[in-house]
Every structure is written in structure tokens, then in C-alpha cells.
Symmetry: C2
Subunit: 150 residues, 2 copies
């Protein structure tokens, strides 16, 4: 037990469990409600509830009530949550390059036309293509992403 004292380990204690980063991905993609996150990640509802609670306790997400009767909540990223976005982007690029077979399921690019280097922070990004079936668009923290058929 124990292991080296290290901020990587500390970070993983917060976001390193299964489904945590995928839940965060959904929030980043604009899906902020429990059922949407559950559907899009494929996580069990009980585990997802536990992960979201933990992320809220850790200050990565904030639970915000968007309806009084009946009470309904959505999850929005805090500053710490937003700071994880580059990590998710890098992870996606790594997955594109070394794991995913075929073309990347989602591609981001600058709305300004510049190419998107593997560097953070990124601003002015827009999803150019997606093999995902869902449609919609979303903007957050300087990012803009569109999902849909070309």
C-alpha cells in the first residue's frame, strides 16, 4: 500500500475511477443531466450517482437545480472541472492515434481556421465532423462543438 506521494496519484484519486472521466466528458459535451450522462456513458445509474456525488464533493462539478417542482438538477463544471478539459482533449487525441481504428469519431478544429495543435489551452475550437448519430451543437468555455451529419 501507500506508494509514492504524487499529484498524479492525487488527481487519479478524484477522477481516476471508472466512469468519472466519461461523466466529465459528457458534461464537457454539454450533456449535463443525469439521464443523458447515464445513456451516453453506459454507466450503471447507482455508480454514476456515486461518481457525480464524489466529483461534486471534490469541487470538480457543481450540482445546480434547474427546476423546483419536481426538483431537478444538472451538473456544471467548476473552474477545476474546466481545467480538466485539456486533459480530456489530449486523451482523445491519444485514443484517436493509438487506440481507435479508422477515422476519429470526433474532430475539433479552431473556428478561426487555424489547425489545432496538441497543446493546451485551446480556444476557438469547433467540432468539424463526427461519426456519432446524435445531432446538436454546444458551446462552452470558448469551445464550440457540433455533432451531426456533415
Amino acid at each position: 500500500m501507500a506508494g509514492r506521494e504524487c499529484s498524479i496519484a492525487n488527481a487519479l484519486a478524484v477522477v481516476g475511477e471508472r466512469w468519472s472521466l466519461l461523466a466529465l466528458r459528457e458534461v464537457m459535451f454539454g450533456e449535463r443531466r443525469f439521464d443523458q450522462i447515464a445513456r451516453n456513458t453506459g454507466a450503471s445509474r447507482d455508480i454514476l450517482a456515486a461518481r457525480l456525488r464524489k466529483l461534486v464533493e471534490a469541487g470538480v462539478l457543481e450540482k445546480r437545480q434547474y427546476e423546483q417542482h419536481p426538483p431537478r438538477y444538472e451538473y456544471v463544471p467548476t473552474e477545476a472541472g474546466k481545467a480538466l478539459q485539456p486533459i480530456l482533449m489530449n486523451l482523445m487525441e491519444w485514443g484517436d492515434r493509438y487506440v481507435t481504428e479508422g477515422p476519429p469519431p470526433t474532430v475539433w478544429e479552431h473556428t478561426c481556421g487555424a489547425e489545432l495543435p496538441s497543446c493546451t489551452p485551446r480556444r476557438c475550437a469547433r467540432a468539424a465532423a463526427s461519426r456519432s448519430a446524435a445531432s446538436g451543437s454546444y458551446e462552452w468555455a470558448g469551445f464550440s462543438r457540433t455533432v451531426g451529419d456533415p
Copy 2:
């Protein structure tokens, strides 16, 4: 089950399990042998063996024999493994900022004296300080890291 088709999910299928990224951290820190990785991560030996096998199968690490009699192996990063380094660095920075209390356990800086922005790839980096008890130094893929008392 199922969930969105996404390279983040694909990446996490390879490196998202508990201990995988910490094992990779050790390899990145220059600890490439089973016992060292086990000690420094705190993982159970059987689980660690399973993770390392998986990482080798996924092409992230390579198992290299460094001794014939008795056969002894060490784990070295492949190109895919090296490509994960920026992600670990970003995760460490995120942990430093939002999780770890007190000063960062490990600090990297450019050997050229320039400050180290939160951007990849990094070259010419050197660990300036560490609260870790262990001593030693290590260089890999343009990084140089020193662990020890100032």
C-alpha cells in the same frame, strides 16, 4: 451499457483502470522493474502483473529481457507510451493545483531556465524540487528529472 463511440472511452479502455496510469508514471520516472513499480505505486502484485500485461498487449509498454539467467524483464515505453507523457504531466499539474494540499511533491522546469507552461510537448525539462525521500536522477525522451533533497 454501450455508450457513445469516442476516443476518450477507447483510451480509457487501455489506460483507465486503477494502477495503469500509476504504473506508467513509474516507467516515466525511470522505475522500470516489477518490484520497483509495485513498491512505488502500492498496487497488489497480481493486479500490477495483469495491468502491465495489458499495457504490453495494447502496445503502450514493451517487455524487455535484461538478464538471461534467471530471466528478468523490465518495462519500457513504446511510442504510444511516450505519447502519454504529456497527459500525465497535465494530470500532475491539475492535481497540484486542485487536489494536492501544500507545495507540489514534484516540480519540473526547463533546463534552459524558461518557465514550463501548461502545454505539450515539453522538451528540456528538469525536476527542480521534490518532497520525495528517494534520490536519483533520470533522463528520458528529452526530459530530465532529478529526485532528491535540495
